[in-house]
Structures are given as C-alpha cells and as structure tokens.
C-alpha cells in the first residue's frame, strides 16, 4: 500500500469474523460497504490496482446471488445480511478486534462507565433483569436473577467466570465473538463482576480456539492499560482482574459445576445442585458463570437501554438469537436474528435454502443436546419456550440443516456417540445409558435391529433424561427422542426393510461400479485406500465387497461425465 502511495488514503485492518463464512475469505471496502468474497492471494493486486487506485471495483469478486445469478456489490444488500438484525454482532467484522480504541470509538466501555460511575450494583442488576435477558448458554435462566443471587450471597470473596468452553460440535458462535469483538465480552464480564461484587474473574476457553485465546488475551492486556481492569477501575473504587483458563478437551466442562472443577484443577465432573455456584462455587465461594453471548449482550443493553433491547424479540425471550448456521445450507456462517424469527426465515432467507436446491429434511438446534425438527416445524418461532416444547432446545447456538442425504438414525447415533464419549462417567444413567443406547443404534444401523428396539431406546432415553446428574446427560437423549418422534419411519426402514433410505449407514449400503458407465479411467482405483478396486486401464472396474471399507472416495473421484459408481442397498444382489 505504502509502496503505491496509498499509505495515507487507505487503512488496512484485519477484522474478526464477518459472519458469512461460506464465502470466505472476504474483504470489505468501507465506507462504500463493498464486499469481495472468496478472495484469493492473487486477487489482491487487482483490487488494489483497479479499485483503490483506479476507483473501479472488481466486479467478478462480488457476491453472486444464486437465485438470480446477479452480482451484488454491497454486503448490506446480500440476502444473508439483509435478513439479519445485528445487535450483539454489530462490531463483528466492523472493527479491528486487536484495537481497543476502535471498540471505544464505537461506544465500547460506555456501558461500563455508566454502570460503575452512575449506578449501584443493584441498579445494574435491575436493568439486566428488566431487559429480560436470558442466559445464552442454553438453559435460558434469567441473567439478572442469577446476578441477584450472586449479589445476595455473603462472602469475603466472589468470582465471575466467562464460559467460553464452546464444545458443541457444529457451533462456533462464542469463538467467533471472542475473535471478532473480545472487548464486548470483557466489558460484560467486568459489569457482571461489579454487579455481584467479585474481584476476580476467569475466562474458561477451549484449548481448540487458539485465535480466540490470543484475542481475549490481548483484550485483557489492553483494557488493563486503559484502566478498565485492575485496581480502582475508573476511579470508582471497584477493583477486578481476569485471568484465562484453557480447557483441556472435555465437553462436560461447559456445565457450570464441571467447569469450576476444571478451573480448580480437578477432573471435570459435575456435582448436583444445590448448592448453586452463586452460593458456593469456586473454592467454595459464590461464583457467577455466564456464557460469552450473554456477556457480550450486556454492554449493548447498558448503552442503548432496556426499552430498546426488550423491544427486540418476543415477550419471554428478548433480544436476539445468534446461530452458527451449518450443514446442507447454501449460506453457512454466523447469523443473528431477533428471537421469535421463524426457522424458515433463518434457513431459507438468510441461509439461502438448501445446498444444490435439494429437499429440506430436518434442522437441529442446540447441538448434541438438542433435537431434530422436521419440515412441518419450519414455521416455529425460535425462542426458548417454543423450541423446548417441540422437543429441542435453544442451546448455545448451533443450527445444523440436513437434507435428504442425511440419515436420521445415523444422525442420532452421531450425536449420541459424541455425548457418550464426552460423558464424564460419574452417574450411572448417563455412563451406562448412553452406552446402551449407542449399542442399540449401532444394532439398528448394522441391519440387526428388532421391532422392540425403538421402544427400548425410548425407555432408556427417558431413564437417562430423568435420572442423569447434569445437563449433559439429561439432554443427551434429545437427538434420539426427537428423531424417533419425527422420523420414526426411518428407524422402521432400517429395522424392517434393512434399508438406509439416505444411503448413509455403511452396513446397509455397498458401492458398486455400473459396468455400462465405467470408462476405465482408473481414478477410483488410485484413490481407494483399501485396494478394493481392480480393473485394467480402459476396462470396467470392479469393487470387492470384502475389501471395501465404504469410505466413498471412489464415488467422489469418479469423473462427472461417467458417474459410474453407485451406492445401493447392501442386500441387493451382486448381479448388477
């Protein structure tokens, strides 16, 4: 830039996640709001030359709307962004996360100043309570109420913890916020500490998020320098400091009591409540634990007021919901919509519909603790209570869209295998129940299922749900229960007909070469890791059922003009 004399005219900054991951890497040019997507290294020169110097935007890098094929230059006009309401994510992708000044410029730490200098802790709690903000970690407990409990506990020492142990597979909201707008989280944490009267805080963050760790580390250092952390913050007499604790790979540590055990250096197993952390938490002292999204919402509530905030969303679920939209959807990425928005809006307007315009089959919210909802639930408003009623949960923001290529039995098994592997093993229902359910699902998937297995599954599921010690176990059966509830026919197909309708379950399918179509190119033969494919060049290839490990590599590399590899039900004769 400086080489070309643009040093003073153009400022280059790195930003956090802009949300539209699918189109990454992205470059935006402000103030025009121009949006270049899927930019390659070699495109940079062209952007600089043509746009920044020549004033002519590079049209070929603009976003193409799949439906119309039109190029859209400004990101505000792209449906993915147009359908969203950015409240918590308002800074994400706007500011340089490593610059505290930019955050302050955007009104950052105003909320903290207001709270510390103009309000009593009780008043802050009142505001949060009035805003109707509910915990974004999944359970939806009113944040203000939690703080009030924390405030009410008498102790010489209290702690606050930011729960950034986002372990849900398929969810990356907390990580993205921490990378893109760490100060918002930090500000929220400081306000929380002030409200309950804590002088020490922790950010418990997944080890798998090195960028987020770097980002929050830097934010802590910068905000110490500016005096937002440390002794006598802003001259208010309130002192508080934060340190970072990295998780070590245990999903259950997202659960409050496990998280505390982990911070204290123990095995991350949960313990029954009461006592609640707000009474007896870290080292027996009152501890208030809030999710990243919850904390990131606090500064905005303080800055823009309770009325404004509670006007967004529904009566019982105020504010916005943030999802990481993934799976078989066209626009994957970070999505923020007001509570009460329908699933259909999120998936079809913001998400742009199903990949390759395939048929929508199900959507899962809440990660492995949530449930799958079928097409007839698409008009369900997304809020805590509606989702719970439909058999899933809000969870911590994972939203996974599935199309017809997804087998629901396999899906249920996938989530269950996750929770089962992450079960801490402390309580019997979760330790043995999830294992037994997994065995049953495997039995069904392998084509050995019996009619009674579905009932058995449900029975164990209810035992685990009602009997387990912590949230992980109590929610672990949700994917199984919801798929049985909405997709029972698929289970029955596996059991009765020994068919996997989505052609996913390995034991029920096999790969075969359609002789008429095979051009003998040898691509499949080369990639096959188990040497299951034989055949001479230019001759029809054959897959050996015995050797095939069903990894699907051959199907992937078979040239589109041939499409000679076929998946067929396993029990269909070899006489193809």
């Amino acid at each position: 830039m400086t080489d070309r004399g643009l040093g003073k005219k153009v400022r280059v900054k790195t930003i956090g996640c802009h949300g539209f991951c699918k189109q990454g890497p992205v470059i935006t040019v402000e103030p025009e709001g121009l949006f270049y997507c899927q930019v390659d290294k070699k495109d940079i020169n062209e952007i600089v030359q043509s746009h920044l110097i020549g004033g002519k935007p590079v049209e070929r890098l603009f976003y193409v709307e799949p439906a119309t094929g039109k190029r859209i230059s400004k990101y505000k006009d792209i449906p993915f962004y147009k359908g969203q309401t950015k409240v918590v994510l308002c800074n994400c992708g706007e500011i340089d996360p490593s610059s505290i000044d930019e955050y302050i410029e955007k009104g950052g730490y105003d909320g903290l100043k207001k709270a510390l200098l103009e309000m009593k802790p009780e008043q802050v709690i009142d505001q949060v309570l009035k805003s109707g903000l509910r915990g974004r970690g999944g359970a939806g407990f009113p944040t203000g109420l939690k703080w009030r409990f924390g405030r009410g506990s008498k102790s010489d020492k209290k702690y606050v913890v930011c729960n950034a142990d986002e372990g849900n597979p398929g969810t990356f909201v907390d990580g993205a916020i921490l990378v893109a707008d760490p100060h918002a989280v930090l500000e929220g944490l400081i306000v929380a500490a002030y409200s309950i009267g804590a002088d020490e805080g922790f950010v418990y963050i997944r080890h798998e998020y090195p960028q987020a760790i770097e980002s929050i580390k830097r934010a802590i250092i910068d905000s110490r320098k500016k005096g937002f952390l440390g002794q006598d913050i802003l001259g208010s007499g309130f002192s508080f400091d934060v340190s970072i604790k990295e998780g070590a790979g245990a999903f259950v540590c997202g659960e409050e009591t496990s998280l505390m055990a982990s911070i204290m250096g123990e095995r991350g197993t949960p313990r029954p409540r009461p006592p609640f952390p707000t009474d007896s938490g870290l080292w027996g002292k009152p501890t208030c634990i809030n999710n990243v999204k919850t904390l990131a919402t606090i500064p905005i509530i303080l800055r823009r007021g309770v009325e404004w905030f509670s006007s967004i969303g529904t009566e019982k679920s105020t504010g916005t919901a943030i999802f990481s939209l993934t799976g078989m959807v066209k626009n994957t990425g970070l999505v923020e919509v007001p509570m009460g928005t329908t699933l259909r809006h999120i998936i079809f307007n913001v998400g742009g519909g199903i990949k390759d315009d395939a048929k929508f089959k199900a959507v899962l919210t809440g990660g492995p603790s949530g449930g799958c909802l079928p097409a007839d639930k698409l008009d369900l408003p997304v809020d805590y209570d509606s989702l719970t009623q439909a058999g899933t949960i809000m969870g911590s923001g994972g939203m996974i869209v599935m199309d017809e290529t997804t087998c629901m039995v396999d899906m249920a098994r996938f989530f269950l295998s996750f929770t089962q592997a992450e079960s801490c093993g402390k309580c019997t229902p979760c330790r043995m129940g999830t294992l037994e359910m997994l065995r049953l699902l495997d039995k069904i998937r392998s084509g050995n299922g019996e009619e009674s297995d579905i009932e058995k599954l449900q029975e164990i599921a209810i035992t685990v749900k009602e009997g387990a010690l912590c949230g992980l176990g109590q929610a672990a059966p949700n994917p199984v229960l919801s798929t049985i509830r909405y997709f029972r026919d698929e289970y029955e197909a596996h059991i009765r007909d020994k068919i996997c309708p989505a052609e996913v379950c390995k034991a029920l399918i096999k790969y075969t070469v359609v002789p008429e179509k095979c051009i003998g190119c040898g691509a499949c033969l080369q990639i096959c890791p188990s040497n299951a494919i034989t055949g001479k060049k230019n001759e029809v290839h054959v897959i050996s059922d015995e050797l095939c490990i069903k990894c699907g590599a051959c199907l992937e590399v078979c040239p589109p003009e041939a499409r000679a590899i076929d998946k067929i039900p396993a029990h269909e004769g070899a006489g193809h």
Partner: protein, 765 residues
C-alpha cells in the same frame, strides 16, 4: 421447629444444612443409596436416592438436597420407582454377577455371607461377596427381578499382586467411595478415577501396583466398598462369624478400637470398630486392619509352660513352673534380680509386675524397653502438671495449625495421620520439621528440613519467639511464626525428638510453644507406654508417677507391701550389671528385647505369647495370652484410659499376664496377690493415681540412630510373621525419593535429551 413430610409422615428437624437423606435416616425411613457413605461428603452419582419433591421440576437426590421447611417429599412415586429400577438395571450391566436372576438367590441369601459355602451350594464363582452386599440390599428393596440388559464383563484381570486385598473391578459399580475415602479422608490418593465415561475405572497412575502408588494398606477402601469389588484376602473364606467383639489394639500407642470376627473361638478377621468408638472412629491402619489374626493365630504361639531341666525345656504344669520360678527368685539376692516389662502389658499387668518386684522380691529393678520417649513425655507432663495439654484425635482434626516433628507418623500411626489430614484438608497449615516420608512432605505447607539434633534448637527458638529460626530464611521465619502465634494449634511429635541434642529441652520448649493455645499429641510407638509409666514400671517411679524419693508416699507403700523400697536399676543399668556378672535373674516379658549384654545372667524367666531368642536361654518359659485374649485397661497417646475386652480365650494352655503375676505373687508368699479380675487390680492402682505426684526429670540420653518402622508385638516382629506386611515394608524405601527440585524448563530439557539419546540408541541398533 421446621418440619417436612416424607411419604406422608411429618418430621421435625433442625435446619442446619442437613439433607433430606439425613432427615429420613434419623427417622428410620429407608432411602436406597450406594454412593453415599456417612463418612464422606455427598456425591450424587448412583442416583438411587432420587426423590420427588413437590414444586421441584425434576427428581432430586436426597443425599445432596438440603431439607427445607414445609418440603413435601415422596420416595415411592410410581414413576420414581420405575426410573430407579431402570437405573439399577443399567448399573447391573457393569456388575456382571448373575445374582439377580440366579435360581439359587434364596439359598444364597441364606448363606449369603458364606461364599465358601454358598459357592458349594449354589455353584457361585463370580462374587467374593462380603458379609454385606449393599447392592443386593438395594436390589431387594427396589424389587428388581430381571436384568433388562445383557451384562458386559469388562475382562479385567482380578488384581491379586498386591498384599492384603484382591480387587476385581469387573464388578465395580464406580460409586467412588474407595477413591473418595482414600483421597478425602485418608489423604493418600493411592487410587483415583482414571479416564472417563464408560471407560472410567478405579486405578493407579499408569496401572502401577498399589505398593508403588503410595498405598498404606489401611483398608479404608475395602471398608466402604458396597460390592465385592474390593475384598480382604484374609476374611474372604471363613463364613459368618459367631460373634464380633470390639477391643483396643495394642500394636501402637493410638489405642484404636478394632472389631474382631470370632469363629470357633478364634479371631478370623479384624476391621475398624464402630464409627462412634474413639479415638479411631471407624478407621484403622495396616496393622490393625490386616495383621492381628495372623499374629494371634500364629502356629508357633507358646502354649505350655516349660522348665529347663538338664539343658532341655520340658513342658510342665503351671504350678510346677511357678514352683521353679519361686525357687530361682528365692535363691537370688533381690538386688541381683531384674524385671523387664513391656508397653504391651495392660496397665494392671504392668502394675502387678512392679508390685511383684517391689512387694514380693524387694527390688526396684523394673523397666521396659523403649521407655525413653514415654518417660520423657509422661515425666515432663507430670512435672509441669500439664496432662490437660494432651489432645484427643478429635481435637487434632479441628486444629488450625499443626507442627509435625520427630516421626513419620503416616507410616507409624496411620490413624493419627488421618486426623492430621482432616485438619490439613480443612486448610490448616502443616509445618513439618525434620525429614519425613513423601506423604507428610506432600501435606506440609512448610517444610523445615533440619537434622534431628537441631530439633531442640528450633523448638526453643519458636517457643521463645526468637527472630531467627534455624535453617529458615528470614521472610519465611516470619510466616511460620505468624502461623504458630495463632490459637488452636497442634504439635504432633514422635520418638524422633529423642535424637535431639537435648531432648528434655525440646520437650519443654514444645510445651511452652503450645502454651494454652492448643494441644500436643505424642505418638507413642507401642501399645501402653503411658499406662506402664503410670503403673510404676520404672526403677525410680512408684505407681501414680510418684518418685521413689518422695518419702511420704514411699513410706505408705512400704508399710502396705512390707518391703523397703529404693530406686532400682534401669534397663540400661541392668544390662551393664549383667555384663559384669552382677545380675543373676532376669524376668523378661518382651521378646523383642535383645539378648545382647545379658548372656551372663544365670536364670532367665521368659513370659510371652511368642517364642524369641530368649527361649533358648530361659530356665522357665511362661506362655502368655495375646492382647485380644486379655482384659484390663490401657492408656493411649491421648492419655485416655481405654478398655481391653477379651475377644477369645487364651490359646492352648496360656494365661493372661495379670493372672500369671497374681498366681506367682501368691506362690512367692505375698498375701495381697489375691485378685480375681483385672478390675480388682485397677481398683488398687486407682488409690495411687488419685494424686499424681512429681517425678524428678531424668536427662534422657539421646539415641543416635533413627529407628526404622519395624512394628513388633512382645517379641514378635510382625513383618517376619506376616508375609504381606513384609512385602509392604520392603517396598517402602522406594517411596522415600527426594522431592524434585528442577524447574519445568530443566525437566523438559532433561526429558528431551533423554528421548533423543534413546532414539539414537535405537537407530544404531
């Protein structure tokens, strides 16, 4: 008073944090539990105590939910029972014992605690079952009669390589009691949960043996195990005991109450006594938990009196033996006769032994082996009238700071260590002075690694509040001094202070240091050291700790017993006299006394339950009963009188010590020896102990060698007799590695270099 309702029954309770389960138990309402244990903090893992509380969304665990006023609790709700049944079925997947569906369930129930028999009758080979299987109790309560799921055998080998107990984790239900008791109560951490989820198991680090893992074999894990996963090897096969009797263990000075299973008039097994029995409250050490039956049932126990005639020991009747002893004693001049008692005698027996010496023979040559520490402690306490400063173990658990000096009592006094750990776990700082084993170092918040000879110096410096502390940096000294200046302290000390340059000074300093703001805990190494002292088993002390030179008391006793009394020879002096040929008769009741130095003694009278090297020299051998066959009282390290209950009759033809002394006294013509029970002896002794007089402090000569832990009982070296104990004691030195001092950088550098060297070696090969 607040009240709640359980299953329609209204119950009043004190709202002090007690849980629904506590309230139900007090009221006699059974709520099944498996992971809960009265000694342990609530866990909430087994889910068997789930109850329904009106107004609460989900079922809650009774073991963790505090009882609140107006709560309505239901334990028999249909859904709840169904849920529990289902959870129990899931649990039984991990407990692949055919129990539940076994056709012999009823027959087995009848012979339940007799697996040997039930094995024969029912063909059961899967469960080492103990007298009580709590899992079975719960199954019966819930009324489970089918398994529901296929049991899965984990195919883990039954662990039999470690001493004393077997572990079969194939039938472990992961209630965690063993891990928690080891970690949270005993502070050992020899076992832990490893891995997670369904792969969780109770294990040591990297599957090490328990000998290597730091296990002290206290047996607490076995005592809390609700299934047959952990079982004591010894008590596995003997069946239902005819009765169980609790008595005091005399293998060290703690005075633990141990319960014995008796069958066919033999003790078959020992385990800690009731939770309410002081001082150990349901805990024991490796000796009390595993060693006593083998010791008492040893095949080489002395069973018949013998008399040496023409160089050969010939079995004789008791009367003949007494005759011969009377002959020997009457021949010798009283001043040339020595009596060596032992700290393993009951207070009554010790009293009678010294009365025999002083009253019947007319000599004060009475002492016992290893009396140095007891002598120092008891005399100093008597001299300064500070018996009240000796604390009970219960107080130790509540101490706010602890100094440990002169002993590795985690090794020697595991129950004291447990109490100590309870304080440490509560956050009390532990200041360790001198060297000690790895556990004590682990618990210590401050470690002052001084040589033993400096104990008196540092204790004096602490007591006098001097600015400098030997071997401690200045900043640190401040910290330590600030700790000990607070109230409610505890000083736990052992016989190691005898190694100090000036043990007397160390002891006085220690008392001054504790002042009125705490208690001291002398860890006596043998059973009844304090009791033997008080009974007058000392050359210069009369019963009741009165000095021989105190003429008024002495006069009274002389009048009573009809013999003149003056100070006699101590054990050391006896040995010197013997080596000069100035001692003719030695009456030994402690076989662990070395023969060395006594070879010129003409006649040895040996009285013990066990043979020793004295047997070859003894003119008369008297078979004595072991402590489980005896009754009377002892005084433990808390300076409390504890009762010894007779558990089994004396083996063979042996007799209790007090009885032998009584009968011998009469044989010697002393009319006052007409006691019919130890109670009568105790009554007589009480006359002397009413007012504890003053004994002049004797300078204790420092012993220059630290004694290894080598538990003995009246001449029986335990490790020689109990193979498992020997294995254990042999493994102990391995643990005494010095703590690592290298930094993480150095450590990682060393490891990396080592690793690259290994790789090179591999490549060359």
């Amino acid at each position: 008073m607040p009240s709640l309702t359980i299953d329609g029954k209204q119950i009043q309770f004190k709202e002090d944090g007690r849980t629904i389960l506590d309230v139900a138990r007090e009221e006699g309402i059974y709520i099944p539990t498996l992971c809960d244990h009265p000694d342990l903090p609530p866990y909430g893992g087994c889910r068997m105590c789930l109850v329904e509380v009106e107004g609460m969304k989900d079922f809650v665990t009774a073991c963790t939910t505090p009882a609140k006023d107006n709560m309505i609790v239901n334990t028999t709700n249909e859904n709840l029972v169904k849920l529990k049944r289902s959870i129990l079925q899931l649990m039984l997947i991990e407990h692949p014992s055919a129990c539940v569906v076994c056709a012999e369930w009823n027959a087995c129930n009848e012979y339940r605690s007799q697996p040997f028999k039930s094995g024969l009758i029912t063909g059961c080979a899967t469960c080492p079952n103990k007298a009580s299987c709590e899992l079975r109790d719960v199954i019966e309560y819930i009324g489970l009669d089918d398994l529901g799921f296929v049991s899965r055998y984990k195919e883990m080998p039954v662990e039999k390589d470690d001493p004393f107990f077997d572990r079969d984790y194939n039938i472990c239900i992961l209630c965690g009691r063993c891990v928690r008791v080891c970690d949270e109560i005993r502070g050992t951490g020899a076992i832990s949960f490893t891995k997670r989820g369904h792969e969780t198991r109770v294990d040591t680090a990297f599957g090490n043996s328990h000998l290597d893992s730091g296990c002290w074999f206290c047996g607490a894990c076995i005592d809390v195990c609700p299934t047959g996963a952990l079982s004591s090897r010894m008590m596995k096969w003997y069946g239902t005991p005819d009765e169980t009797v609790e008595t005091t263990c005399l293998l060290c000075g703690t005075g633990c109450q141990i319960e014995f299973d008796v069958k066919w008039d033999k003790i078959m097994a020992s385990h800690p006594g009731s939770k309410n029995s002081k001082p150990n409250r349901g805990h024991a050490c490796v000796l009390g938990r595993f060693c006593i039956p083998s010791l008492m049932n040893a095949p080489d126990r002395l069973k018949t009196p013998t008399v040496r005639r023409d160089g050969v020991s010939i079995p004789v009747s008791w009367d003949e033996a007494y005759e011969r002893i009377a002959e020997i004693l009457n021949e010798a001049a009283p001043g040339r006769v020595g009596f060596v008692g032992g700290p393993h005698l009951t207070t009554e027996a010790a009293y009678l032994l010294q009365k025999l010496a002083r009253g019947a023979i007319g000599t004060s040559n009475v002492d016992f082996r290893g009396s140095g520490f007891a002598s120092l402690v008891v005399r100093t306490l008597a001299d300064t009238d500070s018996f009240a400063k000796v604390g009970a173990l219960r107080d130790l658990e509540k101490a706010d700071w602890i100094i440990a000096v002169g002993g590795d009592f985690i090794k020697t006094h595991q129950v004291v260590a447990k109490s100590c750990y309870q304080a440490v776990a509560r956050g009390a700082p532990l200041i360790l002075i001198g060297e000690a084993g790895v556990n004590l170092k682990r618990w210590a918040t401050e470690h002052i690694p001084l040589k033993a000879k400096d104990f008196s110096t540092i204790l004096s410096q602490l007591a006098e509040g001097e600015e400098k502390l030997k071997g401690v940096k200045k900043r640190h000294a401040e910290h330590i001094k600030s700790i000990v200046s607070k109230g409610n302290g505890a000083i736990v000390f052992g016989s190691g202070i005898l190694l100090a340059r000036n043990p007397g000074e160390a002891m006085t300093a220690l008392l001054k240091l504790i002042g009125d703001k705490g208690r001291i805990y002398p860890t006596f190494d043998y059973g009844n050291e304090a009791g033997a002292m008080m009974a007058g088993l000392q050359p210069d002390l009369l019963p009741g700790l009165t000095s021989v030179s105190a003429s008024s008391v002495r006069g009274e006793i002389e009048a009573l017993w009809g013999k003149k009394i003056k100070a006699g020879l101590s054990l050391k002096q006896m040995r010197m006299a013997a080596s000069k040929g100035e001692l003719d008769v030695l009456y030994v009741t402690d076989g662990s006394l070395p023969v060395k130095g006594f070879k010129k003694v003409k006649h040895v009278i040996y009285q013990s339950p066990f043979p020793s090297e004295w047997v070859d020299r003894a003119s008369v051998i008297l078979p004595a009963a072991g402590f489980v066959e005896d009754s009377g009282t002892v005084v433990n390290m808390e300076m409390k009188q504890l009762k010894l209950n007779q558990v089994t009759p004396p083996i063979g033809n042996s007799k209790q010590d007090w009885l032998i002394f009584t009968e011998l006294g009469r044989k010697l013509g002393s009319e006052s020896f007409k006691y019919r029970s130890p109670k009568k002896v105790a009554k007589e002794l009480r006359e002397f102990t009413k007012e504890i007089g003053s004994g002049a402090i004797v300078e204790i000569e420092p012993v220059r060698k630290a004694a290894d832990w080598n538990p003995v009982y009246r001449g029986a070296i335990l490790a020689e007799r109990i193979r498992d104990l020997k294995t254990f004691i042999d493994a102990l030195p391995e643990r005494e590695r010095p703590l690592s001092t290298e930094s993480m950088d150095d450590f990682i550098k060393r490891l990396s270099e080592q690793e690259s060297a290994d790789i090179q070696v591999k490549e060359v090969a």
